[in-house]
């Protein structure tokens, strides 16, 4: 209600507005991270076989400074896994979706950490600036910088690009795709996208049916459909056929069609909605497919 009132007040005032910050603002604040002990609503719960040892769950801060930014921003990140194996094993960098924070996405990352076998992979995720306890104001460049800061930390621990796997879910598909196409700290070995959007233009077009330019509503230029053309790494895409938020035909399908690399695989999951791909597909099917892709 407060957001509604604020918005109405803005409408009543004069001058030019820019809602880009609001577009990336989750509006879901927390006071602490709980990870496995988080009791708030999540998309799904995993049984005890997926439980990670306490010493495998590391939450800490990093400094993130984007191109053209005068000073760094403190963001919160989490590494799930044995940090001593970063120098020798593959690591999945998980870029989460728009809503919520790392606690909310913990079961998803927990699932990824157990792909293949118990505690098989190290997985790192981050709360983009303004998400969770991360500081700062969200921007498009900030999103890229925050993921890159995470990759850079892994690099400092011995990760090399041939063992880096970028995973983007929904909004997270934007920084994952961008950094796969335009590497900064490290070039990624593989790219995985779950329920991605094609571009800001695809969403404006879908919302009204009309061919409305995205620039009419935002200065954000997210364009996964274009960026994917520069991704030559092996590519794994999955979306739900019942995605009620993003039209698979004008989003995920477009990205996959535009992919020009040597190996791509698509998984359109019957019955799955925007946020229900793993659980609808089945955790085992999802995990087995990812394992096959990661180890191929």
């Amino acid at each position: 209600m407060q957001r509604t009132l604020l918005f109405l007040m803005l409408l009543a005032s004069s001058g030019c507005f820019n809602l880009d910050a609001d577009l990336l603002n989750p509006g879901d604040k927390i006071t602490s991270y709980y990870m496995a002990d988080y009791t708030g609503a999540v998309d799904f719960h995993l049984d005890s076989s997926y439980t990670l040892p306490k010493n495998f769950v590391n939450v800490f801060t990093l400094q993130s400074q984007g191109i053209g930014e005068a000073s760094p921003t403190t963001i919160y990140v989490a590494y799930l896994g044995d940090t001593t194996r970063i120098g020798t094993d593959s690591v999945i960098v998980y870029c989460h979706g728009y809503d919520h924070h790392m606690d909310f996405y913990y079961p998803r990352v927990q699932l990824l950490a157990n792909v293949g076998s118990k505690n098989r992979y190290g997985v790192m995720m981050m709360d983009y600036r303004s998400f969770g306890l991360s500081h700062g104001t969200p921007t498009e460049e900030g999103l890229y910088a925050d993921v890159d800061a995470t990759v850079n930390w892994l690099k400092s621990k011995g990760l090399t690009g041939d063992r880096l796997i970028l995973y983007g879910m929904s909004l997270g598909g934007a920084p994952a795709t961008y950094l796969a196409a335009n590497p900064r700290a490290l070039p990624a070995q593989k790219l995985i996208l779950e329920s991605p959007f094609a571009s800001t233009g695809s969403i404006t077009g879908d919302a009204t049916g009309l061919n409305i330019p995205a620039s009419a509503v935002t200065t954000l230029k997210f364009d996964n459909a274009q960026e994917i053309k520069s991704v030559m790494q092996p590519f794994f895409w999955t979306s739900g056929l019942n995605d009620s938020f993003l039209n698979i035909n004008t989003n995920g399908d477009v990205i996959f069609q535009n992919y020009q690399g040597a190996y791509g695989e698509a998984h359109r999951i019957p019955g799955a909605d925007h946020s229900t791909v793993p659980q609808t597909w089945g955790f085992k099917n999802y995990s087995d497919s990812l394992l096959k892709f990661i180890t191929r």
Binding site: M1, L11, G27, D206, A207, G209, N211, F245, N247, I248
Partner: protein, 223 residues
């Protein structure tokens, strides 16, 4: 993500202004209208009508022809120049319960000042209206039904995907309370009739998953 895109997208919802004029303005007269309203959508756990604002002016060129133009003031606050320019021609007058009929060709123009992108959507409206509550059939309060048809003739949309839909049908039912110098209008509009409103980033309220309802209020000063 849903709620934020909702805000952004509804700001320039192109076909989402109320019907500007349904009957001609007397020759040589001018009307100025301010409108508030928009489609119903889910926002922060509740359903509200988007408070979009616009102003419009009409001029009675002849007894049966009115020229008009509208400016979407909310869109302007977000760096979008959005105009609708049109003419209304009365075809037949009311005969007891048989409504008067008018038509309006309209050009809807959107210019995104952020990067200069522009769009033009032609529109063709047909209005049926009935006066009531007065001794003659050309004054008094008015009830109207409007079929508003938008056309998008572009061949491609974002990401070079084909623009597959070219006709957008909207239906409005409205009432105009007639004062001496003022008119007060309420309108219920069913937007994009027959078009599925999912999958979509915006939580619309339509009929069986199709279209979206909108509610509008208007106040007009007659000169």
């Amino acid at each position: 993500m849903k709620k934020c895109f909702t805000i952004l997208l509804l700001l320039l919802a192109a076909s989402w202004a109320p019907t500007r004029f349904v009957e001609p303005i007397p020759e040589g007269h001018t009307n100025i209208t301010a409108s508030l309203g928009g489609p119903l959508f889910d926002f922060v756990g509740t359903t509200i009508a988007m408070p979009l604002t616009s102003i419009a002016a009409g001029y009675g060129y002849s007894g049966s022809l009115t020229l008009f133009g509208g400016l979407h003031t909310t869109a302007l606050m977000f760096d979008d120049l959005q105009l609708d320019l049109g003419a209304l021609q009365e075809l037949t007058k009311q005969d007891r319960l048989v409504p008067a009929i008018s038509v309006s060709p309209i050009a809807n123009i959107l210019h995104a000042m952020r990067d200069g992108s522009s769009r033009l959507w032609p529109e063709a409206d047909i209005n049926f209206y009935w006066h009531y509550g007065a001794n003659d059939l050309s004054s008094g309060n008015l009830v109207y039904v409007t079929s508003s048809n938008w056309f998008d003739f572009t061949s491609t949309r974002a990401d070079n995907e084909p623009q597959t839909r070219h006709w957008f049908s909207n239906i409005a039912i409205g009432h105009r309370f007639e004062g001496t110098n003022w008119q007060y209008t309420t309108e219920l509009k069913y937007l994009e009739a027959g078009i599925a409103n999912t999958p979509n980033a915006v939580g619309y309220h339509g009929i069986s998953g199709n279209g979206a309802f909108g509610i509008y209020l208007g106040i007009t000063r007659k000169f």
